[in-house]
C-alpha cells in the first residue's frame, strides 16, 4: 500500500507541475488543483498508514493519528478557496486582457505595451 500511495502522489505531483508550467490559465489552474490534491494526500499519509483504525484515542486498541486528518481538513478548505479565487481571477484577466495567456499577451505581440 505504501508503494501504491507514493507512486500516486508522485504521478499527481509530476502532472500538476507540468500543467502549472503551461502558458494558458486553464491548464495552470488544473495543475494547481492536482498539485494541491497530491499535497493533501501527502499530509494525510504523514500520520502513517493504518487501515481499519479509528482516528480517536481511547476507543480502540489501535488508532490512526488524528492530527494529520485535522490538518488535511484545513488544507483542503484553504486550497479549495484559493482555487476558486484563482479561477475568478483568471476569468477577470481573460475579460480585461482579451486572452487567456498567463502573461496577458499572445505570442508575437509586443511586450512593451506598458510603460
Amino acid at each position: 500500500m505504501e508503494l501504491l500511495i507514493s507512486i500516486m502522489i508522485a504521478v499527481m505531483t509530476a502532472c500538476g507541475v507540468y500543467l502549472m508550467l503551461r502558458s494558458r490559465t486553464f491548464p495552470v489552474i488544473v495543475g494547481l488543483t492536482l498539485f494541491t490534491y497530491a499535497v493533501n494526500l501527502f499530509i494525510f499519509v504523514m500520520g502513517r498508514l493504518t487501515s481499519g483504525a479509528p482516528p480517536v484515542i481511547g476507543t480502540a486498541e489501535q488508532y490512526a493519528d488524528p492530527l494529520p486528518q485535522a490538518l488535511v481538513l484545513t488544507a483542503i478548505v484553504i486550497s479549495f478557496a484559493m482555487t476558486a479565487f484563482v479561477l475568478v481571477l483568471a476569468l477577470r484577466a481573460r475579460a480585461e486582457l482579451g486572452n487567456d495567456h498567463v502573461d496577458g499577451k499572445q505570442t508575437g505581440e509586443s511586450q512593451e505595451d506598458r510603460v
Binding site: 494547481l32 494541491t36 499530509i43 490538518l71 484553504i78 486550497s79 484559493m82 479565487f85 477577470r92
Partner: protein
C-alpha cells in the same frame, strides 16, 4: 495570564468583520472605524513592546490547551518588535487610504484589517501549521487588495502573484507535513527540542524539509531567484496597499530568522545552521539584482519596488552573517526600510496625482502645484533609503557594516552594500531632478493634495529621523533581541514548561 497577546490578532479580525458588514454604509463611518481600530492597534503593540522589553517570554495557550498539543501564541522581543513595526505602518497606510476620497473601493478597509490579522498572527504564533494558516490569511487578503480597483496591469500582475504564491503554499505544506511525519509535532519549540536530538538516519529528510522552508520563505521575502513577481505586483497596486505590502517581504525575512535560529540554529546538532551556506550568496545576488533594477527602472513605483528588493538583499545578508551584532543591525534596518519604503509609495502616489498625465514615468513634464513640499519629502525619503547620514538608513547600514569587518564576508558585504547605496542615490537623484527641476515652465493644472494625505505620508516619513534620534534605546532593544534569538533555550523552556490555567494534562 495576560490576554493582551491575543489582541493584535483579535482586534483586526473583529474590525475586519465589522467593516465587511458595514460595506457601502457610507465612507465616513467605515473610515473612522478603520482608523480608530488601527490607532488602538498601535497602542496595544506599544504595550506589548514594553512588556517584551523586560525579556520575559510570554506564552498564551489558545483554548487553554497545554503545549505542545494546543496552539500557542508566543510573545518574545522579536515578535513584539515586528508587531509594532506592522501596526505603525498600518496606521499611516490606513490614514492615507481614509483621506484620499476618490476611489470607490468599498472593501479596502476591511481587507486591510484582514491582512493585518494574518500578519500579526504570523508574527505571534508559535506553531508551524498556524504559521501556514496565517500566511494564507494574509495572502488571500493581499490577492484581493492587489486587484482592487481593476485594470489590465493589476489583473496581469495579480495572476502571476496568486499562482506563484499558491505553488509556494503547497511547498510550505509539504515541508510542514514532512517535519510532522518525522518529529511528530508542530509546535516550534517542541520541534526545536526534537530536532536537536534527531537520530542520524532521519537527518537528511528533516534537512530536505528545512531547505524547502527556505524556498517558501524566500518566495515571500522576494529572494533571488524568486523575486520576479514583486516589482510588477507592487507597482500595480494602489498606494496604501503598496505601502502595506512593504511589510510583506519582511514576513519572509522574519520567518527565516525565526525558523533558522530556533529549529535549525546553533543547537540543532547535526543540522545546525542548515541554510547558512546558501543564504549568503543568495543575499548578495538579490542585492546586486536590486541595484541593477533600481538603475533600470523607468517609472517611479518600479524604482521603489526595486528599492524594496535591495532592502531584502541587505536584510538577508545580515541574517547570513549570523552573529548577534549582525542580527541586531538587521532588525534595526528592517524597521527603517519597512517604514521608509511605505512612505515612499505614499509620496510617489502624491506626486503621481499632481502630474498632468497622472503617470509616474520618469520624464519631463509640467511642474507640480506643490513641488516644494513634495520635493522636500521625496528628498528626505531618498536620503534615508539610500543610507545617507544623519537618517536611520545610515545608522542601519553602518551597524551592519560594522558587524562584518574581516575576511571574505567584509569584502563582499561592504562593496555590495555601499554600491547599493550609490546606485540608489544615483537613480533617485535622476528621478528627483526630472520630477522637480527639469520641468517645463507651466504649472500642472491639477489639484493640490489636501492636508490629511500629506500628513499621513509625513507621519510615516517622520519615523526615519525618529529612529535615528532614539537610536540608542532602539539599538539596545535589538541587541537584547538578537541575544534572545541566538539562545533559543529560554524560548523552548518557556513554551514547553507552560502550565495552563485549568491545569489540564
Amino acid at each position: 495570564m495576560s490576554h493582551l497577546i491575543a489582541l493584535p490578532v483579535l482586534l483586526p479580525l473583529i474590525t475586519g468583520v465589522i467593516l465587511l458588514l458595514l460595506a457601502g454604509k457610507g465612507f465616513v463611518l467605515t473610515r473612522t472605524v478603520s482608523l480608530v481600530s488601527a490607532g488602538l492597534l498601535v497602542i496595544i503593540s506599544l504595550l506589548l513592546f514594553y512588556t517584551a522589553s523586560s525579556g520575559v517570554i510570554q506564552v498564551y495557550a489558545m483554548g487553554d490547551w497545554a503545549p505542545p498539543f494546543g496552539i500557542v501564541l508566543v510573545l518574545d522581543r522579536l515578535s513584539a518588535f515586528m508587531v509594532l513595526v506592522t501596526s505603525v505602518l498600518a496606521f499611516f497606510a490606513i490614514w492615507y487610504a481614509a483621506s484620499t476620497m476618490d476611489h470607490p473601493a468599498y472593501n479596502l478597509n476591511g481587507l486591510l484589517h484582514l491582512l493585518l490579522l494574518g500578519v500579526n498572527g504570523a508574527f505571534l504564533t508559535g506553531d508551524l501549521f498556524n504559521l501556514f494558516v496565517c500566511f494564507e490569511v494574509l495572502l488571500l487578503a493581499s490577492y484581493a487588495l492587489l486587484v482592487q480597483g481593476g485594470g489590465q496591469e493589476r489583473a496581469r500582475a495579480g495572476l502571476h502573484y496568486v499562482v506563484l504564491n499558491l505553488a509556494g503554499s503547497s511547498l510550505f505544506l509539504i515541508a510542514v507535513a514532512t517535519l510532522y511525519g518525522i518529529t511528530g509535532t508542530l509546535n516550534m519549540a517542541d520541534m526545536a527540542a526534537k530536532v536537536a536530538n534527531l537520530p542520524a538516519q532521519d537527518a537528511p529528510i528533516v534537512a530536505a524539509a528545512g531547505l524547502l522552508f527556505m524556498v517558501v520563505f524566500g518566495l515571500k521575502a522576494a529572494m533571488v531567484p524568486l523575486y520576479f513577481w514583486l516589482p510588477r505586483a507592487y507597482s500595480a497596486a494602489s498606494a496604501p496597499v503598496a505601502a502595506m505590502f512593504a511589510i510583506m517581504t519582511k514576513i519572509g525575512v522574519y520567518s527565516i530568522a525565526r525558523v533558522y535560529t530556533l529549529i535549525f540554529g546553533d543547537h540543532a546538532g547535526e543540522l545546525a545552521n542548515l541554510i547558512q551556506p546558501w543564504l549568503w550568496p543568495l543575499a548578495l545576488v538579490t542585492l546586486a539584482l536590486g541595484v541593477i533594477g533600481v538603475l533600470a527602472a523607468r517609472n517611479l513605483r518600479m524604482q521603489v519596488s526595486y528599492l524594496v528588493i535591495i532592502s531584502v538583499g541587505t536584510l538577508l545578508a545580515g541574517l547570513a552573517l549570523n552573529t548577534a551584532e549582525a542580527l541586531s543591525a538587521t532588525f534595526y534596518y528592517l524597521a527603517h526600510s519597512t517604514w521608509v519604503c511605505g512612505a515612499l509609495y505614499l509620496i510617489v502616489d502624491l506626486i503621481r496625482r499632481q502630474r498632468q498625465d497622472g503617470s509616474d514615468a520618469i520624464r519631463t513634464g509640467p511642474s507640480l502645484p506643490q513641488s516644494t513640499t513634495l520635493g522636500l519629502m521625496f528628498f528626505v525619503a531618498a536620503l534615508s533609503v539610500a543610507g545617507m547620514p544623519p537618517l536611520s538608513g545610515f545608522v542601519g547600514k553602518l551597524l551592519l557594516l560594522q558587524s562584518a569587518t574581516t575576511g571574505y564576508a567584509a569584502i563582499w558585504l561592504w562593496s555590495l552594500v555601499l554600491l547599493g547605496g550609490l546606485a540608489s542615490i544615483t537613480a533617485l537623484s535622476r528621478s528627483g531632478s526630472t520630477f522637480f527641476w527639469r520641468t517645463t515652465e507651466v504649472v500642472a493644472n491639477t489639484q493640490k493634495a489636501s492636508l490629511l494625505p500629506l500628513a499621513a505620508a509625513l507621519g510615516l516619513l517622520a519615523t526615519t529621523p525618529a529612529l535615528a534620534l532614539w537610536g540608542e534605546p532602539i539599538i539596545a532593544y535589538t541587541d537584547a533581541m538578537a541575544e534572545q534569538l541566538l539562545n533559543p533555550g529560554q524560548y523552548i523552556d518557556s513554551v514547553l514548561r507552560h502550565t495552563t490555567v485549568g491545569g489540564n494534562p
